[in-house]
Amino acid sequence: MKSPLILLLVLVSGLALLGLAAAKGAILILAVPLVIYVGVAVFYHPNKPVLTLTRQVSDERVAQGLPVTISLTLVNDGTLLEEVLVDDPIPDTLKILDGTARTLTTLSASEMITLEYTAQTTRGAVNIEAAQVTVRETFGLFQIEAFPAIPLHVSVYPRFSKMRALPIRPTQTRGFSGPIPSRQSGTGLDFFTVREYHPGDAQRYINWKVSARRTNELFTNTFEQERVADVGIILDSRYLSNQVTQNGPIFEHSVRATAALADTLLRAGNRVGLLVYGGTIQRVFPGYGKVQQERILQTLARATPGLNYALEDLGFLPTRFFPSKSQVILVSPLMTDDLRVLIRLRADGYSVIVISPDALDFEASGGKGNGIDPYAYRLAHAERAFLLHKIRRVGVQAVDWKVNEPLDQAVMVALTRQPARQRGGGLIR
């Protein structure tokens, strides 16, 4: 019964009408305890509570999987409240590990209670705008609900492992010194070429072996300048390429990989931008440093796979977003039609790396009950291997990443073993 008060009123009225209709006082008398019960509830009915609520959170930005402690303090600034139900309406994604987000208590004047709970949540943003406070008299017939605004905003960032510096070689670098070989001679550590001696060159850089072959000519070693680069990361959030398997969404792995890549590239001093392409297009314009990392992590925290028929293939990728001849890293499980776009990117002068989480392997690793036909799996695997092969043939560096292996290991193996012609500066065939 939703409203006990209505039930009691119906019973009292029913008994009274029946008693009057039947002219039986005994029936009327049966209503007396019910009337007194309701009367006392009316007498003690709660007034609008005067409460002060404050909220504290241990950390407003937290990595995925780490616990966050939220506390809610309520002070009764009014008179005695016989029953107070305090409910912090937590979203379904928040999993309480310890404590409670809901309590029923009684509060005397000036009394204070604190509700504290530790929760864990999935990647994303946790937003709670108001708590719910329900005040009742002790019989629970009358209640007043209040929704005091005490907003809580917690950003849950993807959790990622640190990576070693990426061996990228974009066609063009920026003017500041950094870790990326710039294909230009100057001050650096790696040997670049030999040129004729110019007055003022340091004597220790003279290449005596080459100079010995010529008469009256000296040659000097030059070194490759190391600069920072522009790197654009594209996170594929298309629904069709990020289907959910028994092991969960592979998109989560893509997000973690993107966060790890952004972290390692920004730590190396590069200018990094992010484009999340799928249900919508979300951009983080290229930038440097920790602030940029924060922007990227915030965007990744909110990223979800989405279905948008206009963005079903990468054809509408806003390539102008990335500086020309810069390094582009696509994080995507890949679809067959994506090859066309990768060719276009290469033709536009971008150096492209594809980091492709292996959705097939991810699904197959679910165990015996995954329902995958072994022949179908082999065919799909062969199709994927062929796609990756074609991608490599057009001069794109492709990393076939089995998500149960560390990304760092997969990237290092793939990017250091490929022949030079297939690296950033490779030919398009």
Partner: protein, 166 residues
């Protein structure tokens, strides 16, 4: 918990009052029916199912009203109504407390609730039994006017409830 035992005792008391009342006036079938209905309620409450408390209260009040036609002693009927009202109230109280009551506040609230419930229903029981001894002669017009007044009161109460909800 102590008050949970009280809840079961009260349902049993309501059942016994009705059963014995009907038995005294020779209506064994009604008596057994009353006991059966209240045993169902008792079983539901004992299993922690608190969804049917309202049905138990309605059934008890209905059976008590029917009992007046068989001239069952009014005190037994009033006792049954008061006991079932108390049981229904305790059942709802436990439903509200379940899983959300702060451990330190639980005992305090329970004590406070039981004291008020016992006081209110004790007063209700005494007043109802006292009213049973009052004899009034009311004419048909008087009854008609009282019925009109009652309808007006019910209407006002419903209006007040609607306003309260807003």
């Amino acid at each position: 918990m102590k008050s949970e035992r009280w809840l079961l005792v009260l349902i049993g008391l309501a059942g016994l009052a009705l059963g014995i009342g009907y038995g005294v006036v020779g209506q064994a079938r009604w008596g057994l029916g009353s006991l059966g209905v209240l045993l169902l309620w008792l079983a539901a409450e004992a299993r922690g199912n608190r969804q049917f408390g309202w049905a138990g209260l309605v059934a008890t009040v209905g059976l008590a009203a029917i009992g007046t036609y068989f001239d069952i002693p009014t005190a037994a009927l009033i006792l049954a109504v008061v006991a079932s009202l108390s049981a229904w109230d305790l059942s709802r109280f436990h439903q509200r407390m379940k899983g959300v009551a702060a451990p330190n506040a639980r005992l305090r609230m329970e004590k406070q609730h039981i004291i008020r419930l016992a006081t209110v229903n004790g007063i209700g029981l005494v007043l109802a039994i006292l009213s049973a001894s009052i004899r009034l002669q009311i004419t048909f017009v008087g009854i008609f006017l009282m019925a009109l007044l009652l309808i007006l009161v019910i209407f006002q109460a419903l209006m007040m409830l609607a306003k309260w909800e807003e």
